[in-house]
Every structure is written in C-alpha cells, then in structure tokens.
C-alpha cells in the first residue's frame, strides 16, 4: 500500500481525476487555509453548473424571458432621466442625462445585483448546506457569476444608446474591463461578508434593501460625482462603488472627475473588502451546517 500513498488533509474530499488514486482525507476540528482555493478549483464544475442554473431559473416561466435584462435598466434609466434629468434638472457633466444615468445604472446594477444575489444565496441554499459537502463559497460565487451575463447584455444596451446619440467612446473604453474587475472584487468581498453574516443573523436579510439603497445614494448613480465637494471626494472614494461607477462614465462618456488618488483609494478598499471577506467567510464556513 506504500505506493501512490500521499497525504492530503481536510481540504479535499473528491479526487476528480481518477477514482483509483488513493488519497487520504483527514477531518479535523480546524480548517487548513492552504486548501481553500484548491478545493474551489476542484469543484469548479459545480460553480458553472450552479451559475447556469441561476441564470436559467431566473427567466423560466417568464413570457419575455431574457428581454428583462435589457428592459430593467432601460426602464429604470428612463424613469430616472424623467425625474432627475427633466424635472429636477440634476447636472450631468454636460452629457445627455439618459446616457449619463444609463452608464451609472449599468455599473451600479452589476455591483448591487452581485451583492443581492450572493448575499441571499447561502440562506436560500440552506437545504444544500445541511445535506452535502462542497466548498460553501461556491454558492455566493455562483450567484454572483450570473450577474456577469446581465452586465454583458446591459453594456450592449449602453453601446447601442451611444450610437443613437452619435457618440464614440475613445481609447478610455479600454479601461472598462479593469473597472469591472474592481467592481467584482469589491462586490464579492462585500457579499462574502453579507452572505455569511446572514447565516447567523437573519436581520441582514431585512437590512439588505436598506444597505443597498443607502449604498446607492453614496454612489454617483443618478447624480454626477462632481457634485461632491472636492475636499470630500477622497473620503467618498473609500466606497469602491463610488470610484468604479464613476469609472464607467470616465471610460464611456469621457467625464473628468476621476483622479489617480481616487482610483488608488478605491482599489485599496476593494481589496480590503475582499481579503477581509474571505477571512471572515472561512472563519465561520465550517459551522454553517449547524446554524443555517
């Protein structure tokens, strides 16, 4: 039995390649940190299948189906354009207000939908957590992954609208993927926090709409970031959504509020959210089944 005998500790349950491979699994009271990512890698198929399920389910038994992805931001933007652009006349950095708000909404919706879906996902899938073992982080990650589909569709809408207005975004549009990635980093970090907290405290389920609403108000979605006094703007940048939602406008519409210090602060706080989220999530992860 000596040959092919190697030791793998708590991190992994399944040898996905070959069943005949002999691996020893050690189950201990404490989790080994080094196996977190390998475990997720091993279950990557589950990640995709769960994400696929989420996307499929969202539009099952709807009449217009996937068209909702287009309609939702478009209708919301039209309403905002009417209220804030036409009636309240909020300045939009000289851009057509509809485009201005559509850009902001696209970025914000992406961010908030990750938060919302991933945040609720652990509690929503509690029946799985108590029945089967797999890396729990797969659940919020898969839920967030579904939002990527929405982002791609709504970006198409944005670029469609740009052509209607005969606006051609310059080289800055190349920075867009980076802003998306930073939004993902921040959103995943925040949703690891929220989803895990929600397992222990259902209060967060009720607080979620408020958290999102308040977060939206401190983010330049319907207003321009230039409305924030210059000396305050660096503090507002602690909110990653503030920086990177504005980043969308910088990249697509060429607005000029974004500065390097803002990007640095936003990036730092995104990474902080992610790292602290991962640490927190994994410090409570193993006990989910006992609590959820």
């Amino acid at each position: 039995m000596g040959k092919g005998y190697f030791k793998i500790k708590s991190g992994d349950k399944f040898m996905s390649e070959q069943v005949t491979t002999e691996a020893e699994i050690v189950i201990e009271p404490q989790l080994r940190v080094e196996h977190i990512f390998r475990d997720i890698w091993r279950f990557r198929d589950l990640l995709w299948i769960l994400a696929e399920r989420d996307v499929r389910l969202r539009y099952k038994q709807t009449v217009i189906g996937v068209a909702w992805i287009v309609l939702q931001p478009l209708l919301a933007s039209l309403i905002f354009a009417l209220i804030f652009g036409v009636f309240a006349r909020i300045p939009s950095d000289g851009q057509p207000y509809l485009l201005f708000v559509l850009c902001g909404m696209t970025a914000w919706n992406f961010f908030s939908s990750i938060l919302q879906r991933a945040g609720n996902s652990l509690v929503g899938n509690g029946f799985l957590i108590t029945k089967v073992y797999f890396p729990r982080a797969i659940i919020p990650l898969a839920a967030g992954l579904g939002s990527l589909v929405d982002l791609i569709v709504s970006l198409t809408v944005v670029f469609g609208a740009l052509t209607l207005y005969h606006i051609c975004p310059g080289w800055r549009v190349l920075a867009l993927p980076l802003f998306c990635i930073m939004l993902i980093v921040a959103a995943v970090g925040a949703s690891l926090w929220l989803s895990a907290l929600m397992v222990y405290y259902r209060d967060f389920m009720h607080a979620m709409p408020f958290i999102l609403q308040i977060w939206m108000y401190i983010t330049p979605v319907v207003y321009a970031a230039s409305l924030v006094p210059a000396e305050w703007i660096i503090y507002f940048s602690l909110n990653p959504a503030f920086v990177f939602v504005e980043g969308f406008r910088w990249a697509i519409l060429g607005s000029n509020v974004l500065t390097w210090p803002m990007v640095m602060v936003g990036t730092a706080s995104s990474i902080f959210l992610l790292v602290s989220g991962v640490i927190y999530f994994y410090s409570v992860e193993r006990n989910f089944a006992d609590v959820v």
Partner: protein
C-alpha cells in the same frame, strides 16, 4: 485486502445550547448590539453569550477495513446522523480526527439540490455536480443514470411534473453512480416502495461486492441484519457495542 479505509479516533461533537435551542437560533440584532462591544469577533463568528454545550458524540473510535459493510444503529438522538455528517464533512468534529482513504459518496438524503423547475437532464448535471462529480464524469455515466432511474421518456420535462416515485428513482440513481470507494448511507431506504427499497439494497450489495466500503445507518434492523456482517450500536453519543450484527442487534433489542 484488510487495509483500513475509515479510521475514527476519539471523535466528539459539541453543540452549544444557544445554537440548538430553536428560539435563540437567530438572535435579534438589538440583543446582539448590547453584547457587541464586549467581543466583536465572537459576535461575528455567531457566538453570543457563553452557553452550555451538549455533546452529540463523545470519544467515538472505530476502524473499518476495505470492503466491509458496517451498520450503525441506535435510537433517535444517539448520534448516528451526527457521525455521518462529520464523516461526510458537512459539519466539523469538535475533537478528534478522522482519516478516510479514498473518495467518499454520502447518500444522506438523495435528491439534495434537485430543482423542481429544471428538467430531468438539467437536474442530473446539477445534482451530480453537487455530489462532487465533474461534468465529464456525469456525461460518462449519463446513460446509466437514466436507465437505472427508468425515466428516459421524461428526460426533458421539469421534475416538478414527475411522480414522486420517478423523482426518487432519479435522485437515487444519480447518487448511486458516483464513483467512490466509501459509501455512507443514511435512511435512504425509508422512502420509496418495496420494489425501490429492494433496488437500493441491491445496489449497496453490488457496491460491497465491488470492494467498496459501506457505512449503513438505519433504523431498519432487518435491513442491517441482511446487509452488514458487523454493526456498531450508538447510545447517547458513545459506542455501546461494536460486534457481529447478530450480537449487536441482540444487545440493542434486549
């Protein structure tokens, strides 16, 4: 052939009463806010005030050799399910250590993760992935799964339209086709009709003949007697008897 596949050493599992008591399962925010300054971290980890602990398992040790089929019996609350949950890594042990040699398939509850709106085909992939199969592996076993479940005609229909029999057959079929060396089975046989139960037992027998190790937790003394040579009796979280099935069952009934 007599290699140890499952080794359980001094395993214990403690639940804190604050967690086990239903009403305080989810404490309110105001309650918690009062405690918060005292210890933010323990609050974040979901531990509020210090609370009594209850040991669902205590000092449990045993070994299982390759190809053995071992039954685990005991009255309600004796720790059977907790043991299986720890073995399948759903919940961590509080003390002790477990070593498992080889891949584990746990049939704690078949059909976990089935979604009513999705079709049979979609659910096979979903459920298979949840149980730890890769896409490739599911594709490889797909036809066998469908054939065993006898649902080929309804593969594309959402499972919410399935009869409960079809549903159960599909669920068990997916779980039974997980390629593993160790099989943990808990009460799956309690559901389904006589014919289905027979099929399940048959599959388990097949598994043991193929050299797989099976740990079978059940209330059904007859099924245990029929399936297992050796049986472990648990009572209040400790092993009372670990012997040939006849002896253990005599001890349990007597």
């Amino acid at each position: 052939m007599s290699e140890t596949v499952i080794s359980v050493k001094e395993v214990g599992k403690a639940y804190s009463m604050a967690v086990t008591r239903g009403a305080t399962l989810h404490r309110t925010l105001t309650e918690e806010l009062a405690l918060m300054p005292r210890n933010l971290w323990s609050w974040l980890k979901g531990r509020g005030a210090p609370c009594e602990t209850f040991w669902a398992l205590k000092g449990v040790s045993f070994e299982v050799k390759r190809g053995e089929v071992v039954g685990v019996i005991g009255s309600n609350g004796s720790g059977k399910s907790t043991l299986l949950k720890i073995l399948s890594r759903i919940t961590p042990p509080t003390t002790g250590e477990i070593r498992l040699r080889g891949r584990v398939a746990s049939l704690l509850e078949v059909g976990a993760g089935f979604h009513p709106e999705l079709s049979g085909r979609e659910n096979i992939f979903l459920n298979g992935a949840i149980l730890g199969m890769t896409r490739q592996e599911i594709r490889r076993n797909f036809d066998a799964i469908v054939a065993f479940a006898e649902i080929a005609k309804f593969l594309e229909a959402p499972v919410k339209h399935y009869s409960s029999g079809m549903y159960m057959r599909l669920a068990f079929s997916v779980a039974a086709h997980l390629e593993s060396e160790i099989l943990l089975v808990d009460e799956v046989l309690a559901v389904g009709d006589a014919q289905f139960q027979k099929k399940c037992l048959g599959k388990m027998g097949e598994a043991s003949r193929a050299g797989k190790t099976v740990l079978f937790v059940s209330h059904d003394i007859n099924a245990v007697r029929q399936m297992c040579r050796r049986t472990i009796l648990l009572a209040q979280g400790v092993i009372v008897k670990d012997d040939l099935s006849e002896e253990t069952i005599k001890c349990y009934l007597g």
